[in-house]
Amino acid sequence: MTTTTNEKKTLVEVKHLVKYFPVRAGLLQRTVAHVQAVDDVSFNIKEGETVGMVGESGCGKTTIGRTMLRLVEPTSGEVIVDGKDVFKMRAPQLKEMRRNMQIIFQDPYASLDPRMPIGESVMEGLNIHKMGTKQERYELMLKTLKKVGLEEYHSRRYPHEFSGGQRQRIGIARALALQPKFIVCDEPVSALDVSIQSQVLNILKDLQKEFGLTYLFIAHNLSVVEHISDRVAVMYLGKMVELATREDLYREPLHPYTRALMSAIPIPDPSIKRERIILKGDVPSPLNPPKGCRFHTRCPIAVSQCSQEEPQFKEVKPNHWVACWLAE
């Protein structure tokens, strides 16, 4: 498994990505502080691979996904896709890139235009990119809807006539219609009932197999990404704290934050007694993140060094990266 992924070509490379959002105040709207949403994050994704990205809300996952597609302008860093730097692209190149890189949003209710029949929504991108003739676009739309389990008569209906799971499948069809190579899936199942989540996950997996798609799959729960990811990254307060193959990460999580996330996953079996690692306090404000290791204020095993020096993100075992003083 690991060897085959190694042989594959890298499709997306993220290098030292930084995104600070200015906080403005006062009459003159002067910048008074910065939210350090993403702070020096590097990783890559190989062709046909799924990288799962997990962390609490506000840790910067969504910002990474959106910055990679330049829906949000970066503060610094590089994102190289297919050998080209996305941040240096000008309008025509950017348009071409956007066809190749799509995003599926978390909220299936808000991401579809309520006044547009869903067939039109799915064709919107095709029209913008003037792909094929009108007839060809229509047929491609139908074909894509079929892929996510919807029929021709559905295409004439409006979003409110669909359930949450169906709307999320429409969102997938919208992204898929443009035949992209890379899709950022931003919490695509978090808003859905558990009973239909795996249906959407299965569709994403089947599509990946059929079209050789590459995914960045964002979630806040490690149990959701386990079955879909080849590798998993864990984020905390704008930093990547761990990155490993799925097998290694679930078998032997090395960062104390990953271990806490893992222990918080509920199991529907009250007879299993587990020790849950409950972290004290809330995630600190990204306006003013703790010095040293950003996790030290909540870390159950922190030592004095942790509050003074920031640990580097290091490969402590083959293909297993961690930022923790105690994991070396």
């Binding site: 609490e56 009932d193 249906q199 996953i265």
Partner: protein, 319 residues
């Protein structure tokens, strides 16, 4: 007679009028709940869970077309009370609600401490200072630092706001609190924290909970008993231990199989199709369309069968 239950619900029904006809959101719901216990009402989105909460607390919208059934709270039937008696003796006093998305509906211009104190002033007629003392106590119970009393909702994280909403439901010391999806908008770590708080409150304050949720895994943390709701009806009731070991109703089994489990080789399953419309629910078993066990009998509505101490609304359990 055996020991009186805290709550017994029989045949509770709440239908709404719409342009397309009546929506049978709550249709003959029944279950029981003991003192200092938690019952989980499990069901998918749209099955009528929030409507059930509204029916219990008599927080009714204008377009109600049918509202009846019996609800015994510590032996007293409360459905027959007139609105004034109900308001003075039941809501907030003996039973309160943490509504769905409560953490997002706190008043943005009031300090959270004042909001938590308010039900004491309104329902117990105490002075504001006294109510604030009680609010401070509740903050401690739910694990919010007392100096947060003076803060505004936007200054708190989602998890803290949800705790404030829980404190507000507890401040009048009711014996029963209905929690509608209390953690579904929160992260796993925050969810785990809130559930620890609820477990502690159950002991410290001797309070009972009706926990309404679609999240079967999280609910298992708190449940003493379970009631499964499907398309406005209860299809299974059971003690938590046997339910989580082996649920009986085909729907409950599929719900259980859809939960992703860590490091498991089996992939989670999903329930195909959608629940039926509550406008014109099917005449037979409401789950029949999606049921892998369906057989000829299922075109008739199944009655509720007793299986040991459990109850199942499914023809497979006809004896």
């Amino acid at each position: 007679m055996s020991k009186e239950k805290l709550l017994r619900i029989e045949n509770l029904t709440l239908h709404f009028n719409t342009q397309k006809g009546p929506v049978q959101a709550v249709d003959g719901v029944f279950f029981e709940l003991g003192h200092k216990e938690a019952v989980v009402v499990l069901g998918e989105s749209g099955c009528g869970k929030s409507s059930l909460a509204k029916a219990l607390l008599r927080l009714l919208p204008r377009n109600v077309s049918r509202y009846d059934g019996k609800v015994y709270l510590e032996g007293t039937e409360i459905m027959g009370m007139d609105d004034e008696t109900y308001r003075r003796n039941v809501r907030w006093i003996r039973m309160s609600l943490v509504p769905q998305a409560a953490m997002n509906s706190l008043n943005p211009v009031l300090k959270v401490g004042d909001q938590v104190a308010e039900p004491m002033v309104v329902h117990h007629g105490v002075k504001k200072e006294e109510a604030l003392v009680q609010a401070a106590k509740m903050f401690q119970h739910v694990g919010v630092p007392v100096d947060f009393l003076d803060r505004y909702a936007f200054e708190l994280s989602g998890g803290m706001r949800q705790r404030v909403a829980i404190a507000m439901a507890l401040v009048t010391a009711p014996g029963l609190v209905v929690l509608d999806e209390p953690t579904s908008a929160l992260d796993v770590l925050t969810q785990a924290n809130i559930f620890n708080v609820l477990k502690r409150l159950k002991h410290e304050l001797e309070v009972s909970f009706i926990l309404i949720t679609h999240d079967i895994a999280t609910s298992s943390e708190l449940a003493d008993s379970v009631a499964v709701m499907y398309a406005g009806q209860i299809v299974e009731t059971s003690d938590a231990r046997s339910f989580f070991k082996e649920p009986l109703h085909p729907y409950s089994r599929m719900l259980m199989a859809s939960v992703p489990r860590l490091r498991a080789n089996i992939e989670p399953e999903f329930i195909t199709g959608q629940p039926p419309s509550l406008l014109h629910p099917p005449t037979g078993c409401r789950f029949a369309d999606r049921c892998p066990k369906r057989f000829s009998k299922c075109s008739e509505e199944p009655p509720v069968f007793n299986v040991e101490s459990k109850q199942v609304k499914c023809w497979l359990y006809e004896s």
